[in-house]
């Protein structure tokens, strides 16, 4: 889809922004370019729409050398989102979004109708259409920036640190929205960030750059965390990559046990027979009520009479990852994570040690997959 062949960018002052980059980006996925500042990730992105011209090598889009296309024409077919949105302050929100359709010669009416659709798509109320950019918050402006990039429904979207100028809460919101949008649109997206967490959260594939414009590793997030190519990548993805990897294991794969789960109608004597320091008390629909310490149980009666410690938080077997399960285990008074199904009924519990078994299993699967398709569908090939 997007292919770099031995592409370099050198500046007259002797600095090398990008050094002999060869990379092939698959159609329909999100590729994240990540690395420390000065690693050439933004330059790489901007070479795709000819905002920067390479000194050597070829960039091609769908098999065609991009130098064959007149730059403005090329750019109208590629969505472009930048850090501070870069909206046109003198135009209304609606006209900002309609920019590319208008450049392409659509009628004003058709362009505005399209813009109104996009405004809704990025989750902004239609009252915003008549406002001006300086009346919007940073997060709202960034949504408009995304809508403007989608104006003419381009197959490719380039995003240069689009969420880094907003506060963490808004950023998380925009990221979630972005993932939802991509599920709907299936664009080929190239996304630049310096934030490895963002890269892992959003990327289908991640290209890690090192200072001096060299590609250090190009891989899926799972494999990047499991098998960093060298010390630089290992250092860049961080000390807690072990825990991050749990994000890629589905909670449904976690082995759960039934042992300490008891209905509130059980006699306390029953709780003493399970040989656990804590029992999880559930109601008749198996919804969790709380933890009861076996040592603190009354002598007689049922578990309904027992003092309960708060539950902490549970994890869902549908949707959550093993990372959420581990977090639940660490925060639970009993050190046991409670797994619930879609209805909120308890399926079983697991402790941190049991969770680590999932990790080992996932690793074995990943290693097998890596051995099986080495070179075949490794994204970008050659670099690893």
């Amino acid at each position: 889809m997007i292919r770099f062949d031995a592409v370099s960018k050198n500046y007259p002052n002797g600095t090398t922004a990008v050094d002999e980059l060869s990379l092939e980006l698959a159609e329909g996925g999100i590729t994240v370019l990540v690395g420390p500042s000065g690693c050439g990730k933004t330059t790489t992105l901007r070479m795709i729409n000819r905002m920067v011209e390479p000194t050597a090598g070829t960039v091609s889009l769908r098999g065609r050398d991009i130098r064959e296309v007149h730059a403005p024409e090329l750019r109208r077919g590629i969505g472009y989102v930048i850090q501070h949105a870069g909206l046109f302050p003198h135009r209304t929100i609606l006209d900002n979004i309609a920019t590319v359709p208008l450049l392409l010669g659509w009628s004003r009416k058709k362009a505005r109708a399209r813009a109104a659709e996009l405004l809704e798509l990025v989750g902004l109320p239609s009252e915003m259409a008549k406002r001006y950019p300086n009346q919007l918050s940073g997060g709202q402006q960034q949504r408009v920036g995304v809508a403007r990039a989608l104006g003419a429904d381009p197959p490719v979207l380039l995003m240069d640190e689009p969420f880094s100028a907003v506060d963490p809460i808004v950023r998380a919101e925009l990221q979630a929205e972005f993932i939802r949008l991509q599920k709907e649109l299936h664009k080929t997206i190239v996304f630049v960030t310096h934030d490895i967490d963002e890269a892992i959260r959003l990327g289908d594939n991640i290209a890690v750059f090192r200072t001096g414009g060299k590609l250090a590793q190009f891989d899926t997030p799972e494999r990047l965390l499991a098998h960093p190519a060298d010390d630089f990548v290992a250092g860049f993805v961080g000390q807690d990559r072990g825990i991050r990897r749990l994000s890629f294991v589905k909670a449904a794969e976690v082995p759960l046990r039934e042992g300490p789960v008891l209905p509130e109608t059980s006699p306390v004597a029953r709780a003493r027979t399970v040989d656990e320091p804590w029992v999880l008390v559930v109601d008749e629909a198996r919804r969790p009520l709380g933890w009861a310490a076996v040592a603190g149980l009354p002598d007689t009666g049922t578990l309904a009479d027992a003092p309960l410690a708060p539950l902490g938080h549970t994890f869902s077997l549908v949707g959550d990852s093993a990372r959420a399960a581990l977090d639940a285990a660490l925060l639970s008074p009993s050190r046991l994570a409670v797994g619930v199904d879609a209805e909120g009924a308890v399926v079983g519990v697991a402790d941190a040690y049991e969770l680590s078994a999932v990790m080992a299993a996932a690793e074995a699967v990943a290693a097998e997959a890596a051995a099986g398709d080495a070179g075949a569908d490794a994204p970008g090939g050659g670099e690893r």
């Binding site: 729409n49 905002m51 403005p72 024409e73 090329l74 750019r75 109208r76 077919g77 472009y80 930048i82 850090q83 501070h84 949105a85 870069g86 909206l87 046109f88 302050p89 003198h90 135009r91 209304t92 920019t99 590319v100 450049l103 406002r131 001006y132 950019p133 300086n134 009346q135 918050s137 920036g145 403007r148 990039a149 104006g151």
Partner: protein, 229 residues
């Protein structure tokens, strides 16, 4: 206090006497002459100032030259320039126009240049990035965003030209300056103050026109007071 009241009465009498409103020496005729000089000068100055201001602001090439030329032009006294041009070119409309054009170019040139150059680089980058040609970047983004400053330059130039066009009377070319020059030579202060008042009123009218124009052509999105919601 009485002096001031007297003078106001004198000016009022002068302004309202019927002979001021008829013939070649009347206010309407002189005003028309004045407006013709001013309008033509402003038109030429705008053509030159806007063209170079936009060009240099957009490309960034020649910024130093713009600043130097503009500063140099501002340092040349208009009256001296008129006398110089009249001496060299003889008594006709041209020298006055040349002097007024030279006077009006600097504010237009500098403000246009600053307005275009001051456009946020992110906005300019986005304009190119979405696929605007250089011409489209200039016309659709830079000019509308620079408009407040461009209008400021035109307004400053217009007011200076309207006020300075009075010098056209010295080489005998008429305009509202006629009243002032004649009044001074005849020690007729009534005439001097009356003529000056008309010039002041004209400058105020220009100011009001530009304020109205600004309301009309500058995007509400560029007003600093736009409230955040």
């Amino acid at each position: 206090m009485n002096d001031l009241l007297n003078q106001i009465r004198l000016v009022a009498d002068w302004l309202t006497s019927s002979k001021q409103w008829h013939g070649d020496d009347g206010i309407p005729h002189r005003l028309l002459e004045h407006l013709t000089y001013s309008g033509l000068s402003l038109l030429f100055a705008a053509l030159i100032g806007l063209t170079f201001g936009l060009l240099v602001g957009h490309t960034g090439r020649g910024a130093f030259a713009v600043a130097s030329v503009a500063n140099l032009a501002r340092a040349v006294p208009t009256f001296g320039l008129v006398v110089l041009v009249v001496t060299l070119a003889g008594l006709s409309t041209t020298p006055v126009l040349v002097a007024l054009v030279a006077l009006a170019i600097p504010p237009i040139l500098i403000n246009t240049f600053e307005g275009v150059r001051g456009v946020d680089p992110d906005t300019r980058d986005a304009a190119r990035g979405v696929g605007m040609t250089e011409w489209e970047v200039l016309v659709r983004v830079e000019v509308p965003m620079a408009l407040p400053l461009i209008l400021l330059g035109l307004r400053v130039a217009a007011i200076q030209v309207v006020a300075t066009a009075t010098v056209a009377a010295y080489p005998g070319l008429g305009g509202l300056g006629r009243f002032i020059v004649d009044g001074l030579s005849r020690n007729d202060y009534e005439l001097v103050i009356g003529g000056s008042t008309v010039v002041v009123v004209l400058a105020l009218v220009v100011q009001i026109l530009f304020t109205a124009l600004r309301r009309f052509v500058v995007s509400p999105g560029l007003r600093v007071s736009a409230s955040r919601t």
